[in-house]
Amino acid sequence: MVKTILSINNVSKSFGKYKAIDNLNLSLQKGDIYGLIGSNGAGKTTIMRLITQLSPLQVGEIKLFDQKINQQALKHVGSIIETPVAFEKLTVKQNLKLIAIQRGINDYDKINEIINFVGLNEKDNTKAKNLSLGQKQRLGLAIAILPDPDLLVLDEPINGLDPSGIIEFRQLLLRLNQEKQVTILISSHILTELYQVSTRFGFIYRGQLIKQISKDDLDRVNQSGLMVTVNNVSKASQIIDKNYSKKFTVLNDKNILIHSLNVDSSELNKKLVMNGVSVVSITKEEKSLEDYYTNLIGELEND
């Protein structure tokens, strides 16, 4: 059974006359890595600040773990909002010890474990103020995950990271999700990165959630996958159906799109040829999340 971790119901938030969030509904299921996408000022950070109660809720309801949001529920949430923060004059280890005391964690071995997990083992005695931006992001993540949260709320966590830092951060998030079953709500302007890590996407435009879509559906809509051009689509589709569990669409009398990029094209080619189907070409079709976002926003702005 799918367990809802977070549900945001009819939430609105105004700053003076400016409506930052407008009747927003959103829910996260256990195990989701939910990518929140929107331009600057669309309302992504405001939503995250409302979830973590750094911004007082005015209208609507937010439920965490099936109960109305409260301080008790927040104990199961880790977050980095806007920028990672730590006491600058304390070392990495001291900052984590501080969080451990604050959260009532008595197992101090866990601090070393987390330092290793985020790859800061060579910096454990370095003061926070002397860390690079990437290392500060890692410390922020370490602070967020130390209490073993069920939900991680990460606002632009890969801002300022170098390419290798981005790759490592992505791997960290995937490990957290897969090894520790942490549900993640993440926003980023780097859509290629968000695509690689997320399982679902929510698009925010002027404070409204205009679209939610799973990664599979996005790939289908984007027609991402393997484009197979053959002389006999009927026979080819039977072979694909029999040998692969992937979804596919027959586009016309020559082309079939397999909605996955994780199919061995040489193996597929071999199977089709051995069954008497002439293969003209097998090509990767990739439309990006960026294309989808641009089209979505473009349609709205043209209306």
């Binding site: 973590t52 007082p56 730590a86 006491f87 304390l90 604050q102 959260r103």
Partner: protein
């Protein structure tokens, strides 16, 4: 709340500022007691009999205690560091984001910060008086009164002065939350006793004396407030403290953090 108190004490223990404050407090007490001098900003008319006693004869340990009490007005400024480290850093370095999302209630946050400051000031005041007693002993001074009276006085003075300093720091928390500025709230701590005392000299509003917290502490320490008046001072101070903590909670609950 206990965890937050432990957190703040852990952080204070790992901050140079608290050790500097400790050294300055000890040094100040040593200088006063050793050199038979009295310092500080006096906004309270100190009884002449105490002043005469201090200027005319060789000091006893009790005289040293009186002198450090009279000089304690300056300590409020030394203790600003405690305010800055305990709560100021949370806002200047925005670490309140970690603290307030850790599951702590706004009530616990404000109250634990106040208690941390109060306890630190109290411990420093005890050290301040203990240093004076120790310096007197090292210099082979006579006690001047019996030991129980002396120690009870030291403890009473520490409690009273810490409590009244902490009220000013409590108001500074409200100012910090409203303005978000450590500078403004620290300047408030510096100016508050001076403004209240100066005002009370000029405008002759008798009720102002109840808000002159530091003078009240000294007046109580030197027995300048009669026992039938004392409860009024204490009651008003408690009301101010409760209103201050209540306002701080209300502000932080409704503030965009």
């Amino acid at each position: 709340m206990i965890n937050q108190l432990r957190t703040d004490f852990y952080r204070l223990r790992h901050t140079w500022g608290i050790y500097i404050t400790l050294i300055v407090t000890i040094a100040y007490s040593v200088i006063i007691t050793l050199n038979n001098i009295v310092g500080g900003i006096w906004v309270v008319p100190i009884p002449t009999k105490i002043l005469n006693r201090l200027s005319n004869k060789i000091w006893t340990i009790k005289d040293g205690l009186s002198a450090v009490s009279m000089s304690s007005t300056l300590l409020m400024y030394v203790f600003i560091g405690i305010f800055v480290i305990t709560i100021g850093y949370e806002f200047s370095q925005k670490t309140y984001k970690n603290t307030l999302t850790s599951g702590i209630t706004r009530f616990s946050f404000v109250v634990s910060k106040y208690i941390t400051m109060l306890l630190n000031i109290f411990i420093l005041m005890l050290i301040y008086y203990s240093t004076s007693i120790l310096v007197g002993l090292i210099n082979h001074r006579t006690v001047g009164v019996n030991w129980i009276t002396l120690l009870t006085d030291a403890l009473d003075f520490s409690v009273v002065i810490s409590f009244f300093i902490s009220i000013a720091f409590g108001i500074a928390i409200v100012i910090l939350l409203v303005t978000g500025s450590i500078v403004v709230s620290s300047v408030f701590i510096v100016l508050f006793p001076i403004i209240i005392s100066t005002l009370s000299q000029f405008v002759k509003w008798s009720w102002l004396k109840y808000f002159d917290f530091f003078s009240t502490a000294l007046k109580i320490a030197f027995g300048m407030i009669s026992s039938d008046q004392l409860w009024k001072y204490i009651l008003i101070s408690f009301i101010v403290l409760i209103l201050t903590v209540g306002s701080a909670i209300l502000i932080i609950k409704n503030k965009e953090l």
